[in-house]
């Protein structure tokens, strides 16, 4: 599982930097079986120290995280230092100011946290693209908008990793499907024909 691989990597890194044996010999050199057993136990200890308490899934605007809802109630109740999350999130998203970004937080039992930021949802990108097409900054009241296949392709490419699609064509079909559900039509013929 990718998750367990990740933890193994983190733990080896921690071990490399934090081992009391550091400096005596390289962490990858051979030592006595006792030493190896000691290292194994240390790795186990780090695993225990970073036990996952819960996950939190939010969608918030880039560069604008603040302790108000949803961040305040969602993280505050878990004992996470909200201000620290806001500082880090805002710094990492300052190039996507104001864009809705999904963020998945892993909260550990020691109240520390990690987070991954994804690209804006296809639906958010479609609305933006439809506005660009119409040249209007106002949200479309009648939910009738148009996008081009080039825009669909750009969004599909951006979201490939999140959409679980093997080909760009299937990702584009999914994005076009979302557009239809929103009342946005895709202008012209699909690049792969009918």
């Amino acid at each position: 599982m990718p998750k367990s691989k990740f933890f193994l990597r983190v733990n080896i890194l921690l071990y490399t930097f934090a081992s009391p044996l550091k400096g005596k010999f390289s962490p990858f050199s051979f030592g006595s079986p006792d030493r190896w057993w000691g290292r194994f136990n240390q790795i186990k200890l780090y695993n225990m120290a970073k036990e996952i308490a819960t996950y939190v899934k939010l969608q918030v605007k880039g560069g604008q995280a603040n302790p108000a809802p949803p961040i305040g109630p969602a993280l505050g109740s878990k004992g996470v230092n909200i201000m620290e999350f806001c500082k880090q999130f805002n710094a990492r998203t300052q190039d996507k100011m104001g864009k809705v970004l999904p963020v998945l937080l892993t909260v550990y039992t020691d109240k520390s946290f990690d987070f991954v930021i994804k690209t804006p949802p296809a639906a958010v990108q479609l609305l933006e693209a439809a506005k660009l097409q119409s040249g209007s900054k106002e949200p479309n009241r009648n939910k009738v908008g148009k996008v081009t296949w080039a825009q669909v392709e750009a969004i599909a490419t951006d979201k490939m990793a999140d959409l679980n699609c093997f080909t760009k064509e299937s990702a584009m079909k999914m994005v076009a499907g979302t557009a239809r559900s929103m009342g946005i039509t895709v202008d012209g013929n699909a690049p792969w024909g009918n």
Partner: protein, 273 residues
């Protein structure tokens, strides 16, 4: 500021569509909960119930709504945070912690509520380290984006005679006032402002622990506030933004004297030339 939370249940695909649609209507953030439940938050004054009912009805979705009052969401973390010690120079603790033994040179008591600045984060920690090497006695100091007021209070404890501090958030201004009183940091004056445009005084030291965009936007103003050979301490800079900051600093006659890196964050000490 109070918020309205609306809770709705729908399919995963529809959830993303509703996030997009509701964002356009002024909703600021969303929490995805188990069982395809979406909770969306909007400031109370921006909530138009009829409009949102019409929008969700178009997708055959209904919602329940709840008013969320303003509260200190950070209370759980604050109730048991660990004290921070920066070398033997400065200790930061809550009122419920015992005093540091042995005592560092300076001890600050912070009740952060929902403001930034407790020394736990690398950006504050590194600012305190940079401040350690500066003689603040009888100096005029400006703290841009003061948060809890931690750096302004430390400057007062190090002997600064005037410390002016601003923050964009009113709750941070209130919080700084409380922390200033609790630490008896009398020279600190704090007020709410979102820009440096109206500041006309000159200062020996300017402190700014914010973020890249704000630091770049206000670099010229920060330089204007400084006397010749004045010191500018910057923090809140990710390692990858180093060149952008230094380039703008150079254009404003600010020369890098030293910098500290911690956890991929940089703090810089610049001199006004």
């Amino acid at each position: 500021m109070s918020h309205i939370a609306i809770t709705l249940t729908c399919t995963a695909e529809l959830k993303d569509i509703l996030v997009a649609e509701l964002s356009e209507k002024g909703f600021e953030g969303f929490e995805e909960q188990a069982g395809n439940t979406l909770v969306a938050y909007i400031p109370e004054q921006d909530f138009n119930e009829t409009d949102i009912r019409a929008l969700t009805a178009g997708y055959n979705v209904t919602f329940t709504q709840e008013r969320i009052g303003q509260t200190n969401w950070n209370a759980v973390w604050e109730s048991n945070f660990e004290p921070v010690l920066v070398d033997d120079f400065c200790g930061i603790r809550a009122s419920f912690h015992p005093a540091f033994v042995p005592a560092p040179q300076h001890e600050i008591m912070i009740t952060p509520k929902m403001s930034f600045g407790t020394g736990h984060h690398a950006t504050t920690y590194s600012m305190i380290k940079l401040m350690k090497g500066i003689d603040f006695r009888s100096k005029k100091v400006f703290d841009f984006g003061t948060g809890t007021g931690i750096l302004a209070i430390l400057a007062a404890k190090m002997g600064a005679s005037v410390i002016d501090a601003i923050d964009i958030d009113t709750w941070s201004v209130e919080n700084t006032k409380e922390n200033v009183t609790n630490n008896n940091a009398l020279p600190v004056k704090v007020w709410q402002a979102d820009s440096l445009k109206g500041i006309r005084d000159n200062y020996n030291v300017v402190l700014a622990n914010i973020n890249r965009n704000i630091l770049l936007e206000f670099m010229a103003d920060m330089r204007r506030l400084l006397v010749r050979d004045g010191i500018l301490l910057l923090s809140g800079i990710l390692k990858e933004d180093e060149s952008a900051i230094l380039e703008t600093a150079r254009k404003n006659a600010l020369v890098l004297e030293s910098q500290i890196e911690k956890d991929n964050w940089l703090a810089m000490k610049l001199l006004a030339r």
